[in-house]
């Protein structure tokens, strides 16, 4: 059943939802990277909660104009307007008062959401219009999604994705170093506005599928997960898009397989699972890679210190050092140094003496900065430089 859903074999409606969610996820992941890099991930939380009053007002206006109040495009337009007002409030509170941005975000999201709830209860008491279903904007609902709705979502996702690709360079520059952009003549405010506008577009498009409480997850989680995989903006954007798209695709397909699997939460949980995988397994920044790196470093330090002790005839007591040196063949099981071990130890000591000399010589200041007690000097200096060093070393004698 799950595989059929994954490969779009579960009927027309499920297929629509799956494709729409995948496009939405890709666009959201790519957009979220710029918010995350600019350390403004939670601004999207304010945007998404601020859509609710717009949905309510749009419904009321549409009913007042004689419609049934449920036209998706109208509701999305309303939500975009109120999200825009919310965004302006956040930036006004941050600029014009001493409040920090997180306080402004929290204030705007709670107040707009509260006002939206008031409007929802007003709508509940209205006799005209078919109000059933406005609550689905809170958590999203794909059951009974119409062709038109799906087209709006898929098109919206595609347009945002294209815009992100178009604007990725200026947005990355602003996210990393707005002062530099301003100094080199860029319009920081306009680029930030575009960034927020894209986040807003994602929120609005995603309202129907994921719901306004959880849409922020699609903007944050794939971006944070993708950050583990690369240090380059272009690749982070690509992988965030891929992770977001995969979350949307798998989540929507999965939720179509059973009645009690709400689409939005499933998509978010799939994204979270991908995040956990990235956190643990990503090369470079992942936890596992870091642990392995730490272990390798630890072993090198122990081996080096053991060899130096051996060369200077000092006893070794440390358990890990002894184990490592036996495993490397430097020591016999009874703790006596082997021939190879003594040779290695002598080389280590020579290396250490050369380093010592090098670091006391101001002419080698640049090379001396690379001393970490582990790197062999051969990797830093050329053979004739080392020979030069050795000439100064000779009076003390080489052991």
């Amino acid at each position: 059943m799950l595989w059929e859903a994954m490969f779009l074999q579960l009927g027309y409606n499920a297929t629509l939802v799956t494709i729409g969610a995948a496009l939405l996820g890709m666009a959201a992941g790519a957009t979220g990277v710029f918010l995350f890099l600019g350390k403004r991930a939670l601004v999207s939380d304010a945007i998404s909660h601020a859509t609710l009053p717009g949905v309510g007002l749009a419904f009321i206006v549409m009913v007042a104009l004689g419609g049934d109040g449920r036209a998706l495009l109208g509701l999305l337009l309303g939500s975009a307007l109120s999200a825009g007002v919310g965004l302006l409030c956040v930036s006004w509170l941050t600029r014009a008062t001493r409040l920090s941005e997180d306080a402004a975000i929290g204030a705007v999201l709670s107040v707009f959401f509260g006002f939206g709830i008031v409007l929802l209860t007003v709508i509940q008491s209205m006799t005209a219009g078919r109000q059933a279903g406005l609550e689905t904007f809170l958590l999203g609902s794909t059951a009974g999604m119409l062709w038109d709705d799906a087209v709006v979502i898929a098109l919206g996702g595609a347009v945002v994705l294209a815009l992100v690709m178009l604007l990725r360079r200026p947005m990355a520059a602003v996210a990393f170093d707005p002062e530099y952009v301003a100094a080199s003549g860029g319009d920081v405010r306009r680029i930030e506005l575009a960034m927020m506008g894209l986040a807003m577009a994602i929120t609005v498009v995603g309202l129907k599928v994921v719901g306004l409480i959880l849409i922020v997850a699609l903007l944050i989680i794939p971006a944070v997960a993708a950050r583990f995989w690369s240090e380059r903006v272009g690749r982070v954007v690509t992988s965030a898009g891929a992770l977001g798209g995969a979350s949307g695709w798998i989540g929507a397909a999965w939720s179509a397989t059973a009645p009690n699997l709400p689409t939005g939460p499933i998509i978010v949980l799939v994204a979270f699972a991908l995040f956990l995988v990235s956190l643990l397994l990503a090369p470079g920044r992942g936890v596992l890679a870091a642990a392995l790196r730490h272990r390798r470093f630890q072993r090198r330090v122990h081996l080096r210190q053991g060899l130096l002790a051996l060369a200077q005839g000092q006893p070794i007591y440390e358990g890990l050092t002894l184990r490592l040196m036996r495993a490397a063949g430097h020591l016999r099981p009874d703790g006596v140094a082997t021939e190879a071990g003594r040779a290695q130890a002598a080389r280590a000591l020579l290396d250490e003496r050369r380093w010592h000399l090098l670091r006391s010589d101001p002419r080698h200041e640049a090379a001396a900065a690379r001393y970490d007690g582990l790197t062999p000097l051969e990797r830093v200096l050329t053979p004739d430089q080392i020979a030069e060093l050795d000439r100064q070393l000779r009076p003390e004698g080489i052991t």
Binding site: F36, A41, A107, F113, V118, L214
Partner: protein, 309 residues
Amino acid sequence: MMGEEFVALSLPPMVIGTCAAVACALPGNFLLLRRQALIGDAISHVVLPGIVAAFLVTGVIAALPMMLGAGVAALVAVALIEVIRRLGKIEPGAAMGVVFTAMFAGGVLLLEQSDTSDVHLDVQHALYGNLESLIWLDAFGWSSLFEWEALKGLPPELPRMLATMLFVSAFTWVFWRPLKISSFDEGFARTVGLPTGALGLSLVIVAAIAAVAAFDAVGSIIVIAMFICPPAAARLMTNRLEVQVAWSVVFAVISAVLGYVLAGYGPLWLGFDDAVSAAGMIATVSGVILGLAAVFGPHRAPVGAAAEG
């Protein structure tokens, strides 16, 4: 408006709302100064999975297990945020966003998967509570306030919320100096030997207790609004922490009372029949207060800007 009906139908929710607002606004002051204002937002989202899990374990809708579940969920969330932040070297805002959305999604999924059709437990209730339903049927006018028999019929949320408010106030009063010092200058606080880590954690725990208790009575939207809006508005009124906390309590009380009155009676004055959501209206009023403070507050100017007159 001031008769029997008021005592029975409006007074208890108003008092509960006021207690909840004050209980959240007090720790909110310190969270705001520490730039942790959004912790309240995160806590109120993760309360949902805690409550659903407690329901699944015990099988009943009872206050104590649910509050325990919510409290545990809040602590798990705080720990997870910290772990992810440290392990992944991620900025706190993003780590928070990852954790609370995932936990909220898990809560919704649990709720959908479990059979809660016969009990009153749903996401809407969790979000905006049901302040209006906390009525006092045993009351017949103001004199009931002095009758033990009638007082026993008070909604249980009222004494619970009152106790929470007193607890939070006591915490703030007892730890006033260390909280004040560590909120303004964590480095100095550490130098003079204050346990800043434990202090920060206990502040978050107290905030979680206030959030969970208030959530049970009034829903999470008031919780988030009261954590942030009254303290933020108060911050724009003064430079002194004592005065700021006093202002925040005043703003919280005004929001709760005015919000409830506007929600319950406002539509009737305008000629409509039905009341609107009290929780939503209380949040809205607190936002209006913040807006006024941001326009007229005597100390609203950003740090570094020229001081006025």
